[in-house]
Amino acid sequence: MSAARVWVVAMRVLRQMRHDVRLIVIMLVVPSLAMILFGFSFSGDIHGVKLAVIDEDRTDLTSEIIDSLKSDPTFQVTELTRVQDPERLLLSGYQAVVRFPEKFTSLYYAHFAMGVATEAHETLHLWLDESDPQIAAALRAGIADALMDEGKGGPVKVEEHPLYGVEVRFIDSFAPAIMGYVVTFICSLLTLLSVVREKVNGTFERLWASPLRRGEFILGYVIAFGLVALVQSALILGIGKLVFHLVINGSVFWTLICVIFFAVGNVGLGTLLSALAQTESQAIFMFPVVVFPRCSFRRCCGPFKPFQRYSGPWPT
């Protein structure tokens, strides 16, 4: 082996990159973007979980506990003045509802006075959405902390009323994100590479000299890869449901429709990014731009961290 020849090859590769300014920019921007997004998403605690509090007892004791909950950044507490149906509150956007029943305080003190457990009346009720295990765990820990802060943890029993995800397993919360990833990878990457290949092979030249319009070209791609996405979505959903028995709340049909829309959206994204890439290597380097944000935002099907764990400047 000749070190000189190895060096010559290495220099040639670097020279090639030097001539591709777009590739250099992508190579510098993508890792920086990835580090920033991952840094924000993996740092910090969960905060801003929307919690509704129904205080039917209205005593100093319940006020102290509520103040403690309010001082915890985990929660964004809304104190409700009138009694409302907790399930309806969860459906309207709250992630948990805490209810202090009437006589909560008197029975609490009775417990100390008489040394007798009267569980039925000193119970704090917690309605929560358990479909997100990380948020559910943060909720439990935050409420336990608030009770302990006030030194009231001992005699109070927290009775949970989970609305969703009663028997949620790890795969139930993780699989939808993986399904999203599969659709993203296949639809965006295939579209991106196919369109860029048209540029590289010169077929664009022939197409634009023909009566074909740019809109027709893009729509054609969306339809073709949309059909591919339809088959893939059905496969992914079918395997998830039949092999892994995923819990799907609601209609499987509408879930499929949502996955299809997601896939078609990804085809559009691939087409959009293809406008920025001139070569296949640029296209491949551009792909992390699609993937990294999704790793970070759970609501965009990122599987790692819930949105409430963001410490970044973006609004939640």
Binding site: N201, G202, T203, E205, R206, L207, W208, A209, S210, P211, L212
Partner: protein
């Protein structure tokens, strides 16, 4: 009747590089016009402006009577463009490529099949119609690229280096076909850097540094050179004569 291609004072620059520096060009109906010159003299840029793929910086471009690129839509379908790259889908078969480009130009499937059989036969590709383009040799891809351009019988053929990589026998057949098309009233504008091809055109424009240095029928240009040098100059000698005269 207007000339199929007319250009007046056309200028096109890419940053500091002036690729086309004031070109006047008129290609008459039924003509085979050859833009001849070495690489980098602006031939492809000129052709891309004629096809509406590039916008001129100054001047006027009219194709089949319409200003280009302003009225490009009125010309599409009447124009056949063969780019320098083969511009084919490598993962489609020969037949599928023809079908796709034919349909884009508004042809019906039956019509395409009939025409494809005819054109593949002429290009000696009929036995390969089911083969993937990616598996064909360079010359065969070149023939297919021309077939895709000719498929919809365009009035005006704009061919960028159409005879590159052809074997001598096929090269001869290509030229016979070009003259056959000319006889049927088609107009052909082609670029080439093969000087021997210049002699087969009805009109030649020698390009240098973004300008058409000299143009005329090959016999006329040869006669002009013969007046100075005597004898019967070849097209290569004609080209060199005008290149030297311009101070190269």
């Amino acid at each position: 009747m207007e000339a199929p291609v007319e250009m007046r004072g056309v200028v096109k620059s890419f940053g500091p590089i002036r690729a086309v520096a004031g070109v006047d060009l008129a290609v008459g109906r039924g003509e085979i016009y050859g833009l001849v010159g070495p690489s980098g003299t602006g031939k492809t840029t000129l052709i891309r402006m004629i096809c509406g793929l590039l916008k001129r910086d100054a001047g006027e471009v009219r194709v089949l009577g319409h200003p280009i690129p302003e009225e490009k839509r009125k010309v599409e379908g009447r124009l056949g463009y063969m780019p320098q790259e083969r511009a084919l889908y490598r993962d489609l078969s020969v037949e599928e490529n023809l079908l796709f480009f034919g349909q884009l130009n508004g042809m019906k499937r039956d019509e395409i099949q009939k025409r494809a059989a005819e054109i593949l036969d002429f290009m000696r590709l009929a036995h390969l119609k089911g083969h993937l383009v990616g598996n064909l040799s360079g010359g065969k891809k070149q023939r297919l690229s021309l077939a895709c351009t000719l498929l919809h019988r365009p009035e005006l053929l704009v061919l960028d280096e159409p005879t590159v990589e052809l074997d001598p026998a096929l090269w001869q057949e290509f030229w016979e076909h070009f003259h056959e098309l000319k006889a049927r009233g088609h107009t052909i504008l082609l670029t080439t850097h093969y000087l021997e091809e210049a002699g087969r055109c009805t009109c030649v424009g020698f390009m240098r540094a973004g300008r058409i240095q000299v143009e005329g029928a090959p016999a006329e240009l040869q006669a002009r050179v013969a007046q100075v040098q005597g004898g019967t100059p070849s097209m290569e000698e004609v080209f060199l004569f005008f290149a030297r005269r311009e101070g190269r």
